[in-house]
């Protein structure tokens, strides 16, 4: 990695900032417009419920009656310090809620990504190499199925087969109280992760197949063969490296969608993550929690698009560093 590319990465990273600011303004604005007093979520619930509490005096003391832009900067400052406000429903600090929920969703999403990238890319490569054979048709059919069957349906089928009929896996949840062994954690994780990654697996498979077939028609593959390289080397060194560039980009861009999909998966499997939290918040009209969750997900999206840039730059020397 040379200096130019580091500079490029830094520049890309800095270019995320205007978008972040825009998103925070939108979120802040939405919070101001929420029904009820938009300020209450910033006040600790102990205070709010105490009999001596004087809302106006408190607002004055904390500067919550200041002009909107001042409040916005104070809000940002609080967020940077980790003070995200309080849930309107439970009164718990949102940070504390996230502290248990975020890792659970990350665990699920990372596992889903891992499973789908391994299976999706491998099967896609296989289908491309065995183009127009039964194997190829089978893989292509499976990928369309994986994209088309809704996650919740797949999840219920999985629970019926593996939990209810065979009894191999638990029907849901994440951790068993008092049993933190790897085995039980994995047993809880595997089915939701597979179901979550299924659609992505299908998409990656199609994309890998198409991309590899495209690369294989390129002239430089012919050049590689004309050097007398073995087919193994032609594929491993020359074809895959090029075919995987667009696949990596797709993978990065699909990460946020995966986090979005966690709402459904977590509901099916009773997984205690952000998706479940968001769902509860929406049903309970707990707007601060909804908006903070949305902001985190938007943040993930920005990170993912940055990752896509980063990976393309690492994999593809053609990316113009000057621009």
């Amino acid at each position: 990695m040379n200096k130019d590319s580091l500079k490029h990465i830094l520049k890309k990273f800095l270019s995320l900032i205007p978008m972040l600011i825009l998103i925070s303004i939108v979120i802040f604005g939405a919070l101001q417009l929420t029904p009820g007093n938009p300020l209450t979520y910033q006040i600790p619930p102990e205070l709010l419920s105490s009999s001596t509490f004087d809302l106006e005096a408190y607002e004055k003391a904390m500067g919550l009656d200041a002009p909107v832009y001042v409040q916005y900067f104070r809000w940002i400052w609080n967020i940077l310090r980790g003070e995200l406000g309080y849930s309107l429903v439970s009164g718990a600090p949102i940070v504390n809620m996230l502290r248990t929920r975020l890792p659970a969703t990350m665990e699920l999403a990372l596992c889903g990504i891992l499973i789908s990238s391994v299976f999706g890319i491998c099967l896609g490569i296989l289908a491309a190499i065995k183009q127009n054979t039964l194997l190829d048709y089978g893989c292509t059919a499976l990928s369309v199925l994986a994209i088309s069957i809704p996650e919740f349906f797949m999840g219920i089928i999985g629970i019926t087969i593996f939990s209810l009929k065979l009894g191999w896996l638990p029907t849901g949840g994440r951790l068993v109280y008092g049993d933190n062994s790897f085995g039980t954690r994995l047993a809880h994780l595997i089915l939701p992760a597979v179901v979550m990654g299924l659609a992505l697996t299908g998409a990656l498979m199609r994309h890998t197949r198409g991309s590899l077939l495209d690369v294989l028609t390129r002239d430089y593959i012919k050049t590689a063969r004309s050097k007398g390289l073995s087919e193994r080397k032609v594929y491993l060194k020359h074809a895959f490296r090029n075919a995987l560039i667009p696949v990596t980009v797709l993978l990065c861009f699909r990460i946020p969608g995966l986090v979005g999909g966690s709402v459904v998966i977590e509901s099916v499997f009773g997984w205690p993550g952000m998706g479940g939290m968001l769902l509860d918040a929406i049903s309970g009209k707990d707007y601060p929690v909804v908006m903070i969750t949305a902001m985190i997900i938007a943040f993930v999206t920005l990170i993912a698009s940055f990752l896509a840039d980063l990976f393309t730059m690492l994999l593809d020397p053609r990316v113009d560093i000057e621009r």
């Binding site: 088309s148 919740f152 909804v290 997900i297």
Partner: protein, 286 residues
């Protein structure tokens, strides 16, 4: 006149190409059956989708109740047919509405450029920063449940794909000689846009509409499954599936969730296959 004829023959060729794709033809037939059955639901079943019958609760599929009955004795087959009406309608309207808004904004931004274009581009970037599921959830949280609200939510969140496609197409076409020639002949901007440029962007947009119809049917059912979509009193495929949220239903009354699950899957699967077939047929490079 001559132009029209050539377009017709091109359409014929594309249709021929589509017909050669056997999977796509089968999918088209399946889709036709699903749509037909939903549209003519009253002719195919004599039950009322809302009629509760406490004496006939959770009956297994039989001759009188083809797909059994649910926990309050409603005929599942009937509910499935009537549910399909709403689900398919939401899917189609959502996709069409999003595409129309997207194409319109894409035309405006791409053709006139300038501040308007920059604003729209930023707006679409902002919208795409949130995964659509999340965007839909947030909007539903603010707007509440309801079929009309779903339409609006889908329109608001589904225009970006078509917008970017149309805009890119127009930007590349705007510089082409025949458009410049149109301008030189004094043909109005609106006429150039709708008569000359838009038809050129039609192929990918049609494919996009098809595929997003499938996407919206999936989304409606997911939302209804979560209890946030169409109010549960109205039958939709997602609302019927919602019964599977109870583990005893999953275990003891599989017809209650298998039937809507298969209906959704079949619909989405056939639409996806048709979309792929269309993409291949409309792709001039193949």
């Amino acid at each position: 006149m001559k132009n029209k004829k050539s377009r017709n023959t091109q359409g014929m060729r594309q249709w021929k190409k589509f017909k050669r794709n056997k999977m796509a033809v089968i999918a088209l037939i399946v889709l036709g059956i699903l749509i037909f059955a939903s549209a003519f639901a009253p002719l195919l079943t004599s039950y009322d989708p809302e009629a509760i019958s406490l004496t006939e609760r959770t009956l297994a599929p039989s001759k009188t109740h083809l797909l059994g009955t649910d926990k309050v004795g409603r005929d599942v087959f009937t509910r499935l047919l009537y549910g399909g009406r709403i689900s398919i309608l939401i899917g189609l309207t959502g996709a069409l509405g999003g595409a129309i808004i997207g194409a319109a904004l894409g035309c405006l931004g791409g053709y006139f450029g300038g501040l308007l274009d920059r604003f729209l581009l930023r707006l679409s970037e902002l919208f795409t920063t949130f995964p659509q599921t999340i965007l839909v959830l947030i909007l539903v949280a603010f707007m509440g449940q309801g079929v009309w609200n779903l339409f609006i939510v889908f329109w608001c969140t589904g225009w970006m794909g078509t917008y970017r496609m149309t805009r890119a197409k127009i930007l590349s076409l705007r510089e082409e000689t025949y458009v410049l020639a149109c301008q030189a002949f004094g043909i109005s901007n609106r006429s150039i846009m709708f008569r000359h440029i838009l038809p050129n962007a039609a192929g990918p947009v049609i494919v996009n509409i098809t595929l997003s119809t499938a996407g919206y049917v999936l989304q409606e059912s997911a939302l209804s499954f979560l209890g946030l979509g169409v109010p549960s009193s109205t039958p939709t495929w997602g609302n019927i599936f919602n019964a599977a949220k109870a583990l005893d239903v999953v275990q003891a009354y599989p017809w209650l969730w298998l039937a809507p699950g298969i209906a959704i899957s079949l619909f989405v699967l056939s639409v996806n296959i048709i979309g792929d077939g269309l993409r291949d047929a409309l792709d001039p490079n193949q």
